[in-house]
């Protein structure tokens, strides 16, 4: 069905257009003037100002590997995170802990643990699936490099980012 678009009735000053140009200029120049006096709230100037102080507790940044009080990486190379990872960003090469070691009964440790930050989507599934509380999403988010290879976080980098975290469940006491 045909529908007639209602046209607004224009006043004389709107029809000759020039007064409305001046009205428009008043608005834009008003914004300019407010800006020049520093009254306008502009957006955050990123590299100088950052959100870091206001990040919520549940913020999901880069996944990292945490260590316990003894300096042992909590990861036991079960590879659950590798399997769950939706973009397949995680690559783990498991290794065996020698029998003479203090933590021999853990049996496995990651020889290599790579997270490709180009692929990572920061979903946090690796953190959720980890039975050892070994992988945590930290608040770091700004990773840049000039090559793709430079954005693959290896085990050393992940441990460095993760740091030591205490007060977690401790499964591997000798008495247990």
């Amino acid at each position: 069905m045909a529908y007639t678009v209602p046209r607004p009735k224009l006043t004389f000053s709107e029809k000759i257009y020039l007064p409305t140009v001046i009205a428009g200029l008043r608005i834009t120049l008003g914004h300019l003037w407010r800006m020049l006096r520093g009254k306008t709230h502009v957006c955050m100037q990123y590299p100088e100002e950052k959100w870091d102080a206001h990040l919520p507790e549940h913020y999901r940044g880069a996944p990292t590997l945490v260590s316990d009080e003894h300096g042992r990486t909590r990861c036991v190379a079960c590879q659950l995170c590798e399997f769950i990872c939706p973009p397949r960003a995680i690559r783990i090469k498991p290794g065996e802990i020698p029998p003479a070691d203090q933590f021999a009964k853990v049996e496995k440790f990651p020889q290599e643990f790579d997270i490709d930050m180009v692929r990572c989507i920061y979903c946090g599934m690796c953190e959720e699936v980890c039975p050892e509380q070994a992988i945590f999403l930290r608040k770091d988010y700004a990773f840049t490099d000039i090559s793709r290879a430079g954005l693959v976080h290896n085990k050393q980098k992940l441990i460095e980012l993760g740091g030591v975290r205490t007060g977690l469940v401790n499964k591997w006491n000798e008495k247990k």
């Binding site: 140009v21 428009g24 300019l32 957006c43």
Partner: protein
């Protein structure tokens, strides 16, 4: 051999040398002004829209050893034109396989050269050590500018046509129609000025305004400020009408918003230069802004007193005042450019039929009637 020597003796070497020096100087100033107009456009637009705009690419003076203080907050963004130029020069210059090569290649050059040539007749200063600050003082100044600046449309039309693609083609067609409809009202709107002054040389037009005050502000901004006479006051009405018509036609002529239909990003991708990249695109960009500067220079010369300013003597009082006059001229041009920018970021684009209606039904008639009003006033109230 004598014959040859005679010819050489007759060649006005001094004139050629001065003209060359003036041309090169003006070219440097105008191209510098162009690049900083682009910067001003980006900065002013962002300030109007509550953003900050390009404020990073400063000159790293702190690196060059100018003290330990970091100047980048003050000079922030002023290096942007240089960064842009380097970027555009180094980008891949891509020519699509389906374009008409010859016209595709000459179109950007046509666009900018027309805009640059029209600057030749504009007096950009009084005198500098008895050398008049105009490259070519010809007796048909405004006509020359109109003739050359309407050639500028060839750049756009050829670009649109040679690109062999529908959006540039539409942009080119629109540009042709727009130029034709606004050339007329632009040419007619300045006829009252020539009626009042009886001169066509732009240098004489400025000198008239030095004596009698700026055309738009009669009497007051003269060398000897005085209250305008009755005839001058009455003539102010047609002068103001012709100023408004000329200004708006200039917006259309230079493809500025609200008349940027040949480009019209929202409708035509980017209009006539859709298929251009790298320095060829930059030439269109430069041409557009040079045309804007040429237009502003013409407005300043015709209506706003050219290089003159009350209580500032002309160049015959020494080198210093000659330089001040040049500075005044470019300050006026800059003010005009800033006004262009204000308008661009205030008004939405006209629809095509509105544009045609405005050109043919309103401005053409207004400019035509304005000529008769001026002639009538001049006939019955002769200005001394």
């Amino acid at each position: 051999m004598n014959f040859l020597n005679e010819i050489i003796a007759q060649v006005p070497w001094l004139l050629i040398a001065f003209s060359l020096a003036k041309t090169i100087g003006l070219l440097c100033v105008v191209l510098g002004l162009v690049s900083y107009t682009v910067y001003a456009e980006r900065r002013v637009s962002s300030l109007m829209q509550d953003r900050l705009g390009p404020n990073r690419t400063g000159f790293p003076l702190s690196l060059l050893g100018f003290g330990l203080k970091d100047w980048s907050p003050i000079l922030g963004g002023l290096g942007q034109p240089i960064a842009d130029a380097v970027k555009l020069l180094l980008k891949e210059d891509f020519t699509p396989s389906y374009v008409k090569k010859f016209y595709y290649w000459i179109a950007p050059g046509l666009g900018i050269s027309a805009a640059l040539v029209s600057l030749a007749v504009i007096p950009f200063g009084s005198t500098l050590g008895s050398v008049p600050m105009v490259i070519a003082s010809i007796d048909a100044g405004p006509l020359f500018v109109f003739a050359i600046s309407s050639l500028g449309v060839y750049g756009i039309v050829l670009a649109g046509w040679s690109a062999n693609s529908k959006y540039p083609f539409l942009g080119g067609i629109r540009s042709t129609a727009q130029m034709i409809s606004y050339e007329l009202s632009m040419g007619l709107s300045v006829v009252p000025i020539f009626l009042i002054m009886g001169k066509l040389n732009l240098v004489d037009i400025v000198n008239y305004q030095v004596e009698n005050g700026w055309l738009l502000v009669p009497g007051f901004f003269a060398a000897h400020p005085h209250l305008p006479e009755r005839g001058q006051l009455l003539l102010w009405i047609p002068v103001f009408i012709s100023f408004v018509v000329f200004l708006i036609s200039m917006f259309a002529e230079t493809n500025r918003l609200p008349f940027d239909l040949p480009e019209a990003e929202t409708e035509l991708v980017s209009g006539y230069h859709t298929e251009y990249s790298s320095m060829k695109f930059a030439l269109f960009f430069l041409g557009e802004y040079t045309a804007m500067i040429a237009g502003s220079a013409l407005i300043v010369t015709l209506f706003l007193g050219g290089w003159s300013f009350p209580f500032i003597p002309d160049g015959s009082h020494g080198w210093f005042w000659g330089l001040v006059n040049i500075g005044v001229f470019f300050a006026k041009v800059t003010a005009c450019l800033i006004f262009f920018i204000f308008i661009r970021w205030t008004l939405p684009r006209f629809r095509y039929d509105q544009l045609m209606k405005l050109g043919w039904i309103w401005f053409f008639e207004i400019a035509l009637v304005n000529i008769f009003i001026t002639a009538g006033i001049l006939a019955f109230l002769p200005v001394s």
